[in-house]
Symmetry: C2
Subunit: 704 residues, 2 copies
């Protein structure tokens, strides 16, 4: 009980930090009236888009809320609502700070790079800590309410189902936000670049381009709000899955409540270490932006190590744990593995996407011989970039399993995600600097300002790839945890003599053709989903190209600077396109487990045998979707980051610099990388989670 209140206190601290940081950001100089005018347009567009997006998701959410309330009771439905509302709130608040920090960062960059970095990072940290803090508060308070106020057993069905539903609410927001935001931002980016840079020959962010405000709006709604919702759900789902496993493994032992509290406590302590870490982010004399970010990250990592040791010591001790064959010390070591996996994935992602290393340089080099070789090398790098992260995840699974079995893997994953506050901060500062660069360009600030914001932006490309690699990496490490949650739930219902599960005997062996079918079906989901995402961006970009061409044609004064383009039209067009295009792909993972279950049930002849076959196939599908999803997501996010930075590398004066043929080829690669890294790739992570969570809810519903 005390532990829960302390965890809540950590969550509250993150909110306090966010309020303090917000007031500090808002207190900074907001620049000239022209800059404020531009920032105002971006802010308006972003808010309008999010309003529309949340309204649409709200409608879907109300239907699901009603279904859950009907099938599983009101407490489960409330869990869903809490997850959805908080996930949305983290994105909404973060974005609202972001659209105010952009112009202030541009202004701060007029005096120094350090000033720009400080403001942008502080804005990112607000989103980061709100993501971790609100997720922790939501899970902890609702768990506490159910267990302590309602006096439900921590491992009762209502508590478990309500926690799973909370994860589902978060996931649902997340996939819509990732996909809708991703389509918006990349439709604007690709479309605007094609017609602006390529056709009209005007630079990026030129105010004469009618798509330029939409591009900046997209940075906020996609890269900021979408990403916040994504990490919120990853955090919540992992915490919930670990709690579910604790409920199973430590059922009927006196340490049950403490073991279920453990993932939350790790989350709580890491919020404090993340807050402390943010103060270490300071530009040193080397002026290395990445170095400054690393200082904060390393501080957080080392402090977390100590913090987690303390948490484990006070909560469960380092000695042998009741009911299982491992010690508290072993769980601490699993936490360390989680931190090491995080560090390695960050380091590998930086290697594959940073401008200092072979991969990005090889893409830049390949640009010299043309568009085709740029894309070939980019694709090669994107595929290669999956190997080391996969090996790290494999090693992580092997080590933690040997230390403390499945629960060890769960603790490692939970620890990995406990750093979300800091990691999201690193990511969310990207769109702020990207926007700041846009505002600097549009407001005609001196070239040096743009140079500062560009330097920040290049690092942002890498940190954005890092966050995505981290999110999907945690999904890979946690794959077995989510599958175990499904399997243990299934066992629970079978052992509980539930009427529906009478005679069911699932067989998850690879010898079972239904398992192979499930693996293949799961494997196809990320591919189909990716294809839909890429096509949607292509279509949205095409619409933008048409619209911009129309404006240039009907108002020839735009290009001469005597007439103003209609920015709102492009924003509006993309808003409608993104909302429309996000629906079908988002429903894919929601409906797939249900469709596969009933289809296999029918094909295998119904009855208990049919149910056994169907449960086996759905279980295998949960792993299949991760086996391909891991590779699809990492290749897309790392590859996209590498393409973007290869372009930046050339723009820095290599291989002919800006305007050279190599640069033109690199722009093509960057365009291809855009939907890869910001639409299809990152949306794979929530897709995997939704598939898993819907499967868990399906079990609960079938049991009723």
């Amino acid at each position: 009980m005390t532990a829960l209140w302390l965890i809540v206190l950590c969550g509250v601290l993150s909110v306090v930090y966010a309020i303090w940081a917000t007031s500090s950001v808002l207190g900074a100089d907001a620049g000239s009236p022209r800059m404020q005018e531009i920032a105002g347009a971006v802010r308006e567009g972003a808010q309008a888009y999010l309003r529309r997006q949340y309204t649409t998701i709200g409608l879907v959410g109300i239907v699901i809320f009603a279904l859950l309330a009907y099938f599983l009771g009101v407490y489960v439905a409330i869990g869903f609502a809490i997850g959805a509302v908080l996930s949305g709130a983290a994105g909404f608040i973060g974005m609202n700070v972001s659209v105010r920090a952009n112009v202030r960062t541009a202004q701060a960059a007029t005096t120094s790079l350090a000033g720009g970095l400080e403001l942008a990072f502080k804005a990112g940290a607000i989103t980061g800590l709100l993501v971790a803090g609100l997720a922790l508060l939501g899970v902890t308070l609702y768990f506490g309410f159910l267990v302590h106020s309602l006096k439900l057993a921590p491992d009762s069905r209502t508590v478990v189902d309500a926690m799973v539903a909370l994860g589902f609410g978060a996931s649902l927001i997340s996939i819509f936000a990732r996909l809708g935001g991703g389509i918006f931002t990349k439709g604007a980016d690709v479309g605007g670049d094609l017609v602006g840079k390529v056709e009209a020959g005007i630079p990026e962010d030129d105010p004469r381009n009618p798509a330029t405000i939409a591009d900046n709006v997209g940075d906020n709604v996609g890269d900021c709000a979408g990403m916040a919702a994504d990490l919120f759900e990853t955090y919540a789902v992992t915490a919930v899955a670990t709690m579910v496993l604790a409920a199973i493994y430590f059922a009927k032992t006196p340490i049950l409540a403490n073991m279920m509290t453990l993932p939350l406590a790790i989350g709580g302590i890491c919020i404090i270490t993340s807050i402390i870490g943010t103060f270490f982010v300071k530009l040193g004399p080397s002026q290395s932006i990445m170095g400054a970010l690393y200082k904060g990250l390393i501080a957080t990592g080392i402090l977390s190590l100590i913090g987690i040791a303390l948490v484990i010591y006070y909560l469960i001790g380092f000695g042998k744990l009741e009911g299982v064959g491992y010690t508290g010390m072993a769980l601490f070591e699993c936490g360390v593995v989680g931190l090491v996996v995080t560090a390695l994935i960050i380091w590998i992602t930086e290697y594959y996407t940073g401008t200092d290393y072979r991969p990005v340089k090889s893409i830049a080099q390949a640009s010299v011989t043309g568009h085709g070789t740029n894309v070939i090398q980019g694709l090669a790098v994107s595929m290669e970039a999956t190997a080391l992260p996969a090996l790290v995840i494999i090693a992580g699974i092997l080590v933690t399993y040997s230390l403390a079995g499945l629960f060890g893997i769960a603790i490692a994953t939970a620890t990995m995600l406990a750093l979300a506050g800091m990691i999201v901060a690193l990511d969310a500062f990207g769109p702020v600097t990207d926007n700041a660069g846009g505002i600097a360009e549009m407001a005609g600030l001196p070239k040096e300002v743009r140079k500062s914001t560009d330097a920040l932006d290049a690092v942002g490309n890498t940190t954005k790839a890092v966050t995505k690699g981290y999110a999907i990496g945690s999904a890979g490490l946690g794959a077995l945890v989510l599958f175990a949650a499904y399997n243990e739930d299934l066992k629970f219902f079978i052992a509980g003599k539930n009427a529906y599960f009478q005679g069911v005997n699932p067989d998850f062996s690879l010898n079972n053709p239904y398992v192979v079918v499930g693996l293949l079906f799961g494997g196809l989901l990320p591919y189909l989903f990716g294809a839909l995402g890429m096509t949607a961006v292509g279509r949205a970009a095409g619409a933008i190209v048409e619209e911009v061409r129309r404006q240039f044609r009907e108002k020839p004064g735009i290009m001469q600077g005597t007439d103003k383009p209609d920015y709102g039209k492009a924003v509006d067009l993309l808003t409608r396109a993104a909302i429309k295009e996000m629906i079908i792909p988002s429903l894919l993972p929601v409906l797939s487990p249900i469709v596969v279950y009933f289809l296999i049930y029918a094909i295998a002849g119904g009855g208990a045998a049919g149910k056994s076959a169907a449960f086996s196939a759905v279980g295998a599908m949960l792993l299949g979707v991760i086996v391909t999803g891991l590779f699809v997501a990492i290749s897309m996010t790392s590859g996209g980051g590498a393409w973007d930075n290869a372009k930046k590398y050339i723009e820095d004066g290599h291989f002919g610099g800006k305007g050279s043929d190599a640069h033109k080829s690199a722009v093509t690669g960057d365009t291809v990388g855009d939907p890869y890294k910001d639409t299809a790739g990152p949306a794979v992570n929530p897709m995997i989670k939704i598939t898993n969570i819907v499967a868990l809810l399906l079990l609960a519903i079938l049991a009723h």
Copy 2:
């Protein structure tokens, strides 16, 4: 015994057909001296390359032969040699016909499209029937020798191991040929296009381009010899795996020998139906080339249906089979499913790569807005193209399993591959027409000739994608069969109280972390392998660009047509590059099962527990490599075909036609698609097979 001789007769028939068709092709008019000179250069280059390639593979082969002889005995090593030599021979002979048929096809196309089609298809049919015939002869004769001459039991270890080693020999040639040939052909193609079309502004196949002969050489060594080796091994491995399963399921029943003969008999009868089918390929009044090919294919399909019914009736009858729960009729129905799966995969591939349908048109349309959108749409199509084939394979597994269990799946796969003669014929005609077009261009034949060969070539792009989809599709359908072979072998050794397998108890359940680790490790192989292949092409192409630039610089007369380029230099350069680059990626699947086994063995603490964990991980790896490999391969081969034909569609006068901006973008897409569809993608199939077969051999070696 009689059945075996009849099967041998079918194999001999294919050789007879090949001899007849060869003399018929060679009897055709070989064109003008200029044409013969060009064709001579192509022939020389191709032969020189294959000599070098086979010498290199030969060295690797001798080492493996010695190892196998030492560990598993001389009969197993001889099996390996038979597989390797015949697989190489099918490719070598096919290519030798191909390099003679190209010039004759160009000459025949001067009079009519029908004449060109007839010659090119006949040349392709030689390769096709030799692939099926030699594979069948090799497996049947060696099996007959071991069982009847040496009086070994059909299910004895020596027979099973020797058959597996035969598949291994074929696979090893195949991966080297696919990869080496693929790197050669696409290095030449991409490099030649970049420096010729893009830099120097001269058309494809212009004789002034020093890389143009190498490009034509590449068509033969990659698309013809490489593909032949690939299908040879797929055919042999599937036949062998089905025989292994028959040996297990029907052990100690009187129908054992007949059940083991069944896959061979199906192969035999389908050679006859394929030969008959080739005579149905005739251009109708509609002048539809695809229609003419379909006529042959449909004839083969219908006749095969009847033939397989007869084979099953005479060999095992339609009634209930001894020792199992299904009938001969059910096995016939599985054969029908195999044919239906083949037809559906062909139809789906044509949809995704043909110029008449939405996907290719959408890529062409996207080319209008630039290079970037072309590539984005192409990637979207490539990913989407995996969904339907995967669903067809899933349906095939479900239906055949419900009909006759695992053996039903095996029979369906064997039937699918029994059509290899006809399918390879459809494919191998592609490089002949591609070459014919090149020769027509270089020899300055009238434009109409080039138009005819271009029309043939466009269909060739689709049929090439079809064959690859078919090869990988059969791997997907057969995945469970290969895994079952591994699993049953393992059970055999455990039950046999083999000293090494004492106390081993593999657990292939998805709950087992070693299974998840195996799935992830298997999943990473196609990605890493694909990345290596793509990079190799990029490097080889870059070297060609440098070489061509050097020649243009040092001999300015080349561009004015007063000086002759040094074609041999480019061929030589590519030969060395391809041979060097093919080694490392080819060793990846050979070494992976071994490394994973011993690594997991050590990590899991050694002893029986370590062995159990390691066998589980290796087994899971075999499925993991298919789960991602299926999607990687289909997306690459279909996507590449679609890109190529989108370019052709624009060249036919759509969206601005040749020389327009859309065309330039489409050329970029085509360049990207080249290594996708002709190097990395198709090599995934032999890679999957090798991983499987090495795992089987590893079991046999550990048992000794």
